[in-house]
Symmetry: C2
Subunit: 406 residues, 2 copies
């Protein structure tokens, strides 16, 4: 399968310092790209060290929009619709606040499978507008649907905000149908693409999505805490006002006008000075994803997750595991969750054996398969190690209690 | 003077790739520290490349607070009061919003000398609370005083927010008296320390300051767009709620609780995932400032600016320049502004001659003297070059029109 993989060559574009390590946590933090390492060092020495302030007049000033345009085809946006700026929570705050103000409504609809940090922010935004966050709740391993959300939609709801891929289950939400349903009731759709950007085609323009945010440090391999992105559909940009108007979003930032005038395009959603070193890392990771192409990446992602589930059926199902992700690849993103009552000690035993998964309390082991560097051999070997650790009972030597992991 | 300088040895702690360059723009972007360059490379290779997700469980997770504690003595704060997170505009938004909510008031007072980006944010925050931003306005090169602001204070004002050092004039505001005056009318004082942190003693605790924000890329030498800081006095922390509640501010972020519960201390003002590479740069720059000590740094800063003004009087005053900064060192921060009708072409001519100042439209040349690496010889030589460029008329060969500079 690796020999037949058209993306196999991309693994060499990453800095892999420990080739024996099976790294299956790219959906929490992707690996460094070789280009990113080189670009950050050049930025450190040449642009900062030698260029100093002159580099702002050169390439730096336009980077948030330029790198946004590199990301655009990966998420199905047009040029000028995507900006790399701030962190996901801050961008979600900005766009949700702007959307409520633009619709003149007070309430937000989300789903219990959404990332908790998103729920915190959305709840705060709705309360600040005098409304509330309405959360659809369902016990399921599939993504939220129109049937789940429809009953919560009415004329008070200005924003429907969900994760495209569920952080626990890896389940895909029906982005097109939910967006259309939000539009039917006069709401705007705001998607968190953190677990889909760079691994699942999003089709923002194709589905007429209004707003989106997401991080760049998972499948886009931008680096730890690399700046996030935001997307605002072109025709909406002039109708939305950021609640945090900073100088990088001003129409003429170096005029030092005491009054704020928003920039014409996507830049109006910027706030403070962008983090250049981190942006350079994001730029390289995003460019590599754009080069590979989202269609080819998704094709390999489906093959990887299918292969993992085949191996799960063959080896793990009989060892007390349950599958925590959808079986239908059309309902699944780039990671697969395995449920086990001893998920925490199993995770610790795996890490000691150089297989890095991700633990999510209380019972979830996430395996994030990054198509640009995860091999089918990685999947095979990882399942062999998991099988051994569980069948032998070796994991029982590890503490049963969780500690912090991301 | 260089031979007698107790901080002279600190220049060697910076990566200086072009020793002939006279860099007088540290108040826009400081130079890279050697430790920062090394630390960022170690983070890139060892922590991200080799450690991968495991580094979050190690050092990364606590960095925003740890580096905040390194900064604390530089600005006169106690441990647990300072957090490195987000950008200055976002932090200003968070603290100004939280302060209005806590005081139950709607209006904010500032001054026309404040950095325009701060005015934009404060105006937005006041409007969102149903109030307005009241701006004291005065045509002066000294900093705002209680006399300027007092008439604007009443029972509707919840926040007084100013820059400690004016970005154009370098003038110091009377932080202690203004803070006390705000308290007298029941308002909280929120200071922007971007142009004072690392060069002027702030004495946050000593002056009983409530709230502060600032960047780390000027005198703290943290790197382009490095994350900013925020300060909340210890006894206020539990009474303030961030308007952007993200997972890094949660009491137990890895419990993935669907409901937000703020962390006990300063961490409650964090939002999304911190930018680790940039934080490492900030850490090294801040640590170097802490090592030098703010008293010794200020003493050299005063000597540098005094020497520059002496040289201005001797050589530049007769060439059409006016001094745009206070003559009294007690009223002056770390940079000195020279006013000239041809400031823009003069700036361009200086850059071509390897003297890097900063231009601020329409007529200001800022000279930022960074005590940790600027020498008295730099000051002497720079004034010689300025004198030559203006006396010879060589600047007239340069375009008269400004373009973007930071």
């Amino acid at each position: 399968m690796d020999n037949a993989d058209p993306l196999a060559g991309y693994r060499d574009r990453f800095s892999i310092l420990d080739p024996d390590l099976i790294y299956l946590d790219g959906n929490s933090l992707g690996r460094p790209t070789r280009d990113g390492v080189e670009r950050i060092q050049k930025t450190l020495h040449e642009e900062w060290g030698r260029g100093l302030i002159r580099s702002w007049r050169g390439e730096w000033i336009g980077l948030p929009e330029q790198v946004g345009d590199v990301l655009a085809p990966v998420v199905g946006a047009a040029p000028g619709e995507t900006l790399i700026t701030d962190q996901t929570s801050v961008n979600l705050f900005k766009l949700a606040s702007a959307a409520l103000a633009a619709t003149g409504r007070t309430d937000i609809v989300s789903d219990s499978s959404n990332f908790p940090s998103d729920l915190y922010v959305l709840d705060a935004v709705a309360h600040a507008a005098g409304g509330q966050l309405r959360i659809a709740s369902a016990d399921r391993t599939t993504g939220p649907t129109v049937d789940d959300l429809g009953p919560l939609l009415d004329e008070h709801v200005g924003v429907v905000s969900l994760s495209h891929v569920g952080f626990k289950t890896g389940a895909l939400a029906d982005l097109g149908a939910i967006t259309a349903s939000a539009h039917d009731t006069g709401a705007l759709a705001l998607w968190d693409l953190s677990h889909s950007a760079g691994v699942v085609p999003v089709g923002l323009n194709g589905h007429n999505v209004d707003l989106a945010v997401g991080c760049t440090y998972k499948y886009l391999n931008g680096g730890p805490g690399a700046p996030a992105f935001l997307y605002v559909r072109h025709d909406l940009q002039e109708h939305l006002a950021t609640p945090i108007p900073g100088w990088f979003g001003h129409a003429d930032m170096f005029a030092f006008d005491p009054t704020y005038s928003p920039a014409a395009g996507i830049r109006r959603f910027a706030a403070g000075t962008p983090p250049i070193l981190a942006l350079r890392g994001a730029e390289a990771g995003i460019a590599l994803s754009a080069k590979a192409g989202i269609a080819a990446t998704r094709a390999k992602s489906v093959r990887l997750t299918e292969f993992l589930i085949t191996r799960y059926d063959a080896s793990l199902a009989r060892l007390g595991f349950a599958l925590g992700s959808p079986r239908d690849p059309n309902q699944r993103g780039g990671h697969v969750s395995l449920l086990h009552p001893d998920a925490y000690p199993i995770t610790q035993a795996l890490i000691d054996r150089k297989v890095i998964p991700d633990f999510r309390a209380p019972d979830t082991i996430r395996l994030g398969l990054a198509p640009l560097y995860t091999t089918f051999t990685d999947v095979w070997d990882a399942v062999e190690v998991i099988t051994d650790v569980v069948a032998s009972g070796a994991y029982r030597e590890y503490p049963a209690e969780p500690e912090g992991v991301t």
